[in-house]
């Protein structure tokens, strides 16, 4: 498992502070599309290791945190950079190429 599991203790440090982009999936265990995304996110996490953190937050477990962002449905994907949402919400299951594209757009802008 290469995906970072988020909670209310590590969210600040892992998502809001880094200078590099962070892809966050807001998900729930009752949501089949979220379950489907798991292996794919894992691959992305491996591919972008060291450059982009891939992380997920369970909205049932940490609903207050989820409520702080425009999560209208699950799964929702966001890219955070320096504490701000720079891309998203992208709602619903996404193909790998789509997510790669979304991430790469933000990587181009690093610097």
């Amino acid at each position: 498992m290469n995906i970072k599991i988020l909670n209310d203790y590590n969210f600040e440090k892992e998502v809001l502070q880094p200078k590099t982009p962070v892809l966050v999936e807001f998900w729930a265990s009752w949501c089949p599309p979220c379950k489907m995304m798991e292996p794919l996110l894992d691959e992305l996490a491996k591919e972008f290791a060291g450059r982009v953190l891939v992380a997920k937050l369970n909205v049932d477990q940490y609903r207050d945190l989820a409520a702080a962002y425009p999560v209208m449905g699950v799964p929702s994907f966001f890219i955070f950079k320096l504490g701000k949402i720079v891309s998203g919400p992208h709602i619903g299951a996404q193909s790998k190429t789509r997510l790669q594209k979304i991430i790469e757009e933000q990587m181009d802008r690093v610097g």
């Binding site: 203790y9 009752w30 089949p32 609903r63 207050d64 619903g92």
Partner: protein, 495 residues
Amino acid sequence: MKKGMHNKDCTCWSCPAINLAGKVDFRACGQSVEQIKKFQDEKGGGHIMAECRRRPELGLYDPMAITFQECPEWQDTEYGYLLKNMRVMILGIDGYLGWTLALWLGKLGCKVSGIDNYSRRNWVKERGTHTVVPIARMTERLHAAKEVLGIDIYFRELDVLDKVALTEFLKEVKPEAIVHYAECPSAPYSMIDFEHAKNVQSNNVIGTLSTLFAIHEAVPESTLIKLGTMGEYGAPLTGRPLFEGFFPADAVLKWQDKEWSLGGELTPRDPVSFYHISKVQDTFNVYEACKYWWLRSYDVMQGVIYGVHTDEVAADPRLRTRFDIDEWFGTIINRFVAQAIVGIPLTLYGAGEQIRGFIALEDAMQCITRLIAKPPEPGQYGVVNQMSGYYKLRELAETVAAIGKKSFGLDVQIQRVENPRVESERHPFNPIFSKLPDEFGFVQKDNIEQEVSRMFSLLLQPNIKSRIEEKRHLILPKTWWSGQKKEVERIELYK
């Protein structure tokens, strides 16, 4: 994957011993937050807390903090960590699979309970046939299980459609996993006439609905292992993959010049009899119940089972599980072996090029155990395709014939007859069945050659052989999907 340890990183979040009631507000999107807010105000802290029914001394704690590997209640077994004395209830415990699983789990240290209303015995009697491997009455079965294997099984005669009685029994036993086998498993039986179609569909569909309501009321944190069939998918002629219930994340629908993600949507179903249709309806009922009530379920799309053996059922004649060979209740490899023994040419329907997925009895037991050991998360409806390989029916007939000849000196022929079913006789078949090995650590232990030899050895015993002889007139099909009732005619006989 390290042997047996597929579930070491699971946490209390997916453990059936957890008590989340009133402490988690599921469905963060669109549900009331009052209860959880109140709880958080009282207890402080933003993240969720739970209690453990097995270890009340923990008090309120973070259910993500303890893994199965760390918890003393989850104990190391050959099939992963398993809850100590795990309470497992088997619905349909008197059946081919139910009885076998009861002994298998009992031997593993589970506290097994079960219900059955003996309808399978009655359907078989109604058709004028019998199980060719004799089976004992339930009282005798229970007695022998205790005497021979030292297993206590808590049985109650009960119809799953009786939701009130089922709820009461669930409340009394509080199972941590429930395996639901209690359905009529026969496609041809459901195709006999309106009465039979109606009985199969109402028994299966309403039975599962009753089970869902009863679990919701009595044991919502328990795992439901529901038996479906690979036949729910059909065999699409395009040869597109038969995914495990859902489209994978990167599947897209392309139409005209647009694209949509299909990830996580249920794949199309194309059932092939009124029986299979009941299973598809079950799929939707279970899928929705998980969504509405955060029940946890695995729906097992099971391939055709073959075989007679586990160490437990073979331990004593009174512990044997049923074995049917007639046109309604016999499954194909089991029927081939019986035909070979009484000198009926092994019967292929139509071209005989149909392809199906298969799994041996013992391997199926292993799969169910591994699923129980790695429970779904709250609200999760997971689907696995449970099979160890897929074969052309003609090749299977050839395999059985060859074993019968070589190892048992039988003169076995193969015949093609008219196909009483409505199905493709030549088709591509591309099933995906990697979840059980990849995520649950399933390793195939039995295979067709070994199990077919075991079947021959058992079925050749004189008392069993004569029970096959007695019902030989019920082996060739007379039930047509068209509604006709007539013998099928031979198209071709091979040596």
